[in-house]
């Protein structure tokens, strides 16, 4: 392994080290059966969302071009029946994956950026700046999420972006607290003192020493946050706060609820979207938990 004839540059060494760390993590991950199952399910759903237009005809989404009857049961032509507009539920389901995953990922990105920044800074700084950041995090932590989301969505209007924004803005405090405690413990380690003595500035310390050490936890947390974000997207869409022109699993369930699919026995309109939500959320949770166990040695013995 170390038989390189020419001396390696710092960059090459770093790349090799990262490659090794990645392979080690992957080998570790493969031993978590539930995590692997989750990853397989996720891959399937992501592929379905990406190649939606190859799987089914996008024209099936248009109400005016619907060919089926109202709330028709499953048949050869419509494997999962039709909705109240005569569209194939299967088509809606496949395209719904796009919106649900997109909003979930976007919201998570917003939440992660805010949460990581706030956590890093409130852990790294000392004195009153840290205290203020911590207080702000606590304030956001106590805001009841759903009522705020209702208020925001009603004021901002109904769109995909607003839903993602609402979820992102309200779900970051947990991440911030986690990152903060992680930062606080890393900050006390001797190698940071050494770097400081060698003349490292705040920015260098934060970006080169603390952030890389916090990143694994951020990754595990991100996966868990996506699960919650997708769940929340579904709930908000169900309450009618989603983009009315797009189909997501939540909006399908809203439709099903509004037309009373439970009372007419149209189970094919209620069960599939919910099952998809459960599968995706469960998959993200399983992957996230496995990552957490890998990166957090304290959890390993479980």
């Amino acid at each position: 392994m170390s038989s390189a004839s020419a001396p390696l540059s710092a960059r090459q060494i770093a790349r090799r080290r990262r490659g090794r760390a990645l392979r080690r993590t992957w080998a570790e991950f493969r031993r978590h059966r539930s995590g692997v199952v989750g990853l397989v399910v996720l891959t399937a759903f992501v592929l379905m969302a990406v190649f939606a237009s190859l799987l089914v005809d996008p024209e099936g989404l248009e109400v005016t071009k619907a060919t089926g009857g109202v709330l028709e049961g499953p048949s050869g032509q419509f494997p999962l029946g039709t909705d109240d507009n005569g569209r194939s539920v299967l088509t809606l389901l496949i395209y719904g994956a796009r919106i649900s995953l997109f909003v979930g990922l976007l919201a998570t990105a917003i939440s992660m950026v805010i949460g990581t920044l706030m956590g890093l800074m409130s852990g790294f700084f000392e004195g009153w700046p840290s205290a203020i950041l911590f207080r702000v995090t606590e304030w956001f932590l106590v805001i009841p999420f759903l009522p705020l989301a209702l208020v925001l969505a009603s004021v901002l209007g109904r769109s995909l972006w607003n839903i993602a924004l609402v979820i992102g803005v309200t779900s970051w405090p947990g991440t911030a607290l986690l990152i903060r405690s992680q930062t606080l413990s890393i900050k006390e380690r001797p190698y940071l003192d050494r770097a400081r003595v060698l003349g490292a500035g705040r920015w260098h310390l934060m970006s080169r020493h603390i952030l890389p050490n916090v990143m694994p936890m951020v990754l595990a947390n991100t996966t868990l946050t996506v699960a919650i974000a997708i769940l929340t997207e579904t709930t908000l869409s169900f309450l009618g706060l989603g983009d009315p022109t797009r189909v997501s699993w939540g909006s399908m369930l809203e439709d099903a609820f509004t037309v009373g699919a439970m009372t007419t026995g149209a189970w094919w309109f209620i069960v599939p979207p919910g099952v998809c939500v459960v599968l995706v959320v469960l998959a993200f949770t399983l992957v996230g938990q496995s990552l957490e166990e890998i990166f957090n040695p304290r959890l390993r013995r479980r």
């Binding site: 805001i143 009841p144 759903l146 705020l148 208020v151 709930t235 009618g240 949770t285």
Partner: protein, 346 residues
Amino acid sequence: MSATLTSSPGAATGSAPAARQSYARYVGGRLLGALGSLAFVLVVNFFLFRVLPGDPARTLGRGRFRTEEQLEQFRATYGLTEPLPQQFVTFLQNTLTGDLGISLRYRVPVADLILDRLWPTLLLVGTSMLLATVIGVYLGMISAWNRGRPVDRVWTNSTLTLYSMPEWWLGLLLIATVAVGAGPIPGIFPTGGLNSVDVDPGTFDYVLDTAWHLTLPVITLTLAYLADYALIMRSSLLDELGEDYLVTARAKGLRDIAVRRHHAVPNALLPTTTLVALNLGFVVSGAITIETIFSIPGLGLLATEALSIPDYWVLQGTFLVASAAVILANLLANLLYGVLDPRVRT
């Protein structure tokens, strides 16, 4: 332990005056924090509706006004013609005296409306939370004690699935099966509402009728909350099971069951207690979806109904009440934790 239950700093004659004093300081800090949070919520509440792009009068009365005079009158009624700082002072005065505005839909004070709708929500969420806590803690204990065995795997997987499920979807499934009836399953429960119209209030039948109506919503919410408690109880008990003091207890000759019951469980209950206290705050907001699908006339339904108007004052009021509840519960959780675990009083 009991000495720390009282928190008056003046009565420092007890056995542990120092501990008492430190708890008093802890309480003071937490109280200040809660007040700060409350102030923050008030500010958010004010600015959410007023500093948004556009004319608040038009936003608030969306599409309701045909003429300029109507707009002017609306502005004057809600004090929207005054400068912003003045508006804020008025808002504070009104809110602190319990005046939350008038509902655009019902034409009655929002505060009265909220008080009216509080009872069904408390009944529904309170019952569910109690059940969920008891069952969840029990399941978590069973799982942790049988870690890795089939029992543990079954319970952990079921709670994880429940955790991944939108609780209202579960409710919809229950409505479709045991309320409406599907195939061989008879519909035995009502599909929604809190009471039948033909039962006299005040009689015993009325109580039974309410219970019958609340069965499905309570089951749904219990299952939704339960997952949280079971998972946290399992993981905190597992944390404790690895601790040295348990080895010591066993080495002293105590039986396994005694060690678990008297040493591990009380300590593992700490995080669960906090979670329960914290969740108490989400009483108001927790039932939004469940009340919507079962049409139970509580705070949650009030909020979702207000959404379609949109009845901003009602939304603002429910948001305020919901946040206040969370802050209060948070304070309670912290104080409780301070009593149970003296280490946090730093």
